[in-house]
Amino acid sequence: VPRASKSEPFTIEIRRVFPDALVVLAGEVDASNVAELYEQFSELIRDGMQRISLHLAEVTFMDSTGLSVLVALQKRTQALGGEFVIFSPSPQLRRLFALASLDSYFTIRPVDRSCQGDAPPSPTSTPRDEERTTARTTRLTPGD
């Protein structure tokens, strides 16, 4: 039985500026990495992050397993009085949201201008400089 190569890595990058968290995903989201994604989100919520911004511009593929995690996150942040905002999904992802009738369920915003440079995008509320220095950045590549 042939095994699939892990050619296009899936990455999660997280930046925390309490109580905001910024999550930048890249690559393909499917059954092979949704558990990891779910775990990362759970940790953010456990740590009291109330506003979670999820940037999807670099996500090249997502199926219904990914949607399920996003729905779970939306429900949990909402139940805790927090906020979950999805930024800049590709047209393909937007179509997936529409197919699942989730396009108006999620809060989706277009490309954040601050995301277009090389610098990582800033959270929805821009942190002051002193806060920025305390921000903890985590980069994870599952399988490493």
Binding site: P2, D63, S68
Partner: protein, 568 residues
């Protein structure tokens, strides 16, 4: 009154006389030069009507110029209201009361009325009750006046007049000057009105078409609306709503004409039809009543309408048409048919409508397509050809996909000369289709690959399908990859088995993909609400494929889930 020697009607000055008069040195000739120059400066650079100043921006500038160059004390613009054939005070300098009091003068009455009626410059050397209709003018102490009509493209836009407290004599040069200003104002008013109407019609249209398709547990909807290339909004609309009785009403129609007026009539007609539907009338009674109202309150207007209803458990469609092109119905696996009902004229043609409705059977998965004539009409082609081409493009697929395919087939790169409205409705399949894939001819190409029962195989299956399908030149690659991803995930998560993926190229530009696993369990189509955290996979396959199904083998574990998509 017209023989009164104090009233002088002058011939409209031609361009030639402008040049001639400029050569004669008079007290206004330098002013005329200056006005021409300064009006020129107000002209749009690009010549586009959008780039020009609008009337209300232009008026204060022009009033300044007139007071400056003519030495007049008052200036005013009255605009023509076509509906009442009256002139309405719009803006004034030194006569602001005229605007504040909402002065209205019928065309043909008084000074401004006379300018409008005769469409010529008029000079008044005496201002009193015998020469002007508006008392504000003589109460202000105006002793002489000059008025010119505002005309654009042969249409009366209004009147511009100036007045003098000292009884200044307005001569030929003054007339030329004022006419020059009037030309500029008329052009701005005209393009401004046209632009405002286009914008209003567009806003109205957008507010009346359902922004997102109706969300219903048993019926899927999708729609498209494309305005004609030239940007004029028509009176096309579609509507779908559910009543408290559970009935789902579907309507489509087209008010004849383009511009703001048909769009407004469309809005009223849509409300009328909704109101009658709420009264629990039958579709034919709704149309009959709407025709009566239309005939009485919208004289001269005409509209074609389809009025239909799906009653729970949604196994029947009842429909009535007033002169509208026939909707198309397709059952799963069957050829599409046109829903031709008793011929009935459009609304607004006869005072009483003889209408009756026709019923059609619906199956699980049947699709209905409604549209307006912009979709099927082509210059130099009989309308029946367009309808036939549409019938050929309709199948029982998911509405969103169906709309995309129909727009591709019917419009493609063509620039529609009329508005296009399209509404697709499908009775959502309640069960997983269990029929084996119906294939008329042998597969032309078949490729198959086996994958291990591990999460990474989902990506592997996507890579495999991309490779196969890339060779076949399939355009819907992202969608096919998504469907394969869903089926592969199901095989691993619910059947816990390895699986193989087979791709067959069929004739008629179709591809069949089959995912076979060897574990227990048969998938179910769940009614996944927004909040559900699973159960979306098969729904996605259902929405994206043309047909699909699950085949189990008696006595053996495992099953095949297959789908067919068009590659065109």
């Amino acid at each position: 009154m017209r023989d009164d020697p104090t009233i002088e009607t002058l011939p409209p000055s031609a361009t030639a006389s402008v040049t001639a008069s400029v050569q004669r040195p008079t007290r206004w000739s330098s002013g005329l030069h200056e006005l021409e120059g300064r009006l020129q400066a107000l002209r749009p650079v690009s010549g586009s009507s959008l780039a020009s100043l609008d009337l209300d921006e232009l008026l204060p500038l022009v009033f300044d110029l007139l007071v400056d160059l003519l030495g007049c004390d008052t200036a005013a613009v009255l605009l023509h209201d076509a509906a009442s054939d009256q002139l309405v005070a719009h803006a004034a300098r030194g006569l602001e009361e005229e605007v504040r009091q909402g002065v209205r003068v019928p065309v043909g009455v008084g000074f401004a009325g006379r300018v409008a009626e005769e469409r010529r410059p008029v000079v008044l050397s005496r201002v009193d009750a015998s020469t002007v209709a508006n008392p504000i003018l003589w109460h202000k102490g105006i002793r002489s006046m000059l008025g010119v009509p505002l005309i654009a493209e042969d249409t009366l836009i209004g009147v511009l007049h100036v007045g003098s407290y000292s009884g200044m004599a307005f001569d030929d040069e003054a007339v030329v000057l004022l006419e020059l200003a009037a030309d500029r104002l008329a052009a701005a008013a005209r393009s401004g009105t046209a632009l405002a109407e286009r914008r209003a019609a567009r806003v109205l249209q957008r507010s009346l078409l359902p922004a997102s398709p109706l969300s219903h547990p048993h019926i899927d909807f999708a729609s498209r609306y494309v305005p004609a290339e030239r940007g004029d909004i028509g009176g096309d609309w579609y509507d779908a709503f559910e009543l408290s009785t559970g009935e789902v009403w579907v309507m489509t129609g087209d008010v004849v004409g383009h511009g703001l007026q048909p769009a407004i009539i469309m809005g009223r007609l849509r409300s009328t039809l909704r109101a009658y539907a709420l009264l629990r009338m039958s579709p034919e009674d709704v149309l009959r009543a709407a025709n009566r109202k239309f005939d009485l309150f919208e004289p001269g207007a005409m509209a074609t309408v389809i009025c239909g209803v799906l009653v729970p458990p949604f196994d029947e469609f009842r429909m009535c048409s007033a002169g509208h092109p026939p909707p198309v119905l397709a059952h799963p696996g069957g050829e599409a048919e046109l829903l031709v009902s008793t011929p009935t004229p459009p609304l607004g043609v006869l005072p009483e409508l003889e209408s009756s409705s026709t019923r059609w059977k619906l199956e699980d998965g049947s699709a209905l397509v409604f549209y307006t004539d912009g979709l099927i009409e082509r210059r130099g082609e009989p309308i029946t050809e367009g309808i036939e081409r549409l019938r050929g493009a309709v199948h029982s697929g998911a509405p969103e996909l169906l709309c995309a395919e129909i727009m591709e087939t019917m419009i493609g790169r063509y620039q529609p000369t009329d508005d296009v409205a399209l509404l697709a409705v499908r009775v959502r399949p309640k069960h997983v289709p269990s029929a084996p894939p119906h294939v008329e001819t042998e597969p032309l190409v078949a490729r198959s690959e086996l994958f291990a029962c591990e999460a990474e195989s989902v990506r592997g299956a996507r890579r495999f399908i991309a490779e196969c399908v890339g060779q076949l030149g399939l355009r819907r690659m992202p969608e096919v990859q998504l469907m394969v991803s869903e089926l592969a995930t199901n095989a691993i998560q619910y059947s816990g088995s390895q699986f193989d993926v087979t791709v067959d190229r069929l004739t008629e530009g179709k591809v069949r993909v089959e995912v076979r696993d060897f574990g227990p369990g048969v998938p179910e189509l769940s009614e996944a609400g927004c909040e559900a955290e699973s159960g979306r996979g098969l729904r996605i396959v259902d929405l994206l494929s043309e047909t699909w199904g699950v085949v189990t083998r008696p006595g053996a574990a495992g099953k095949s889930t297959w789908f067919i998509v068009s590659t065109e």
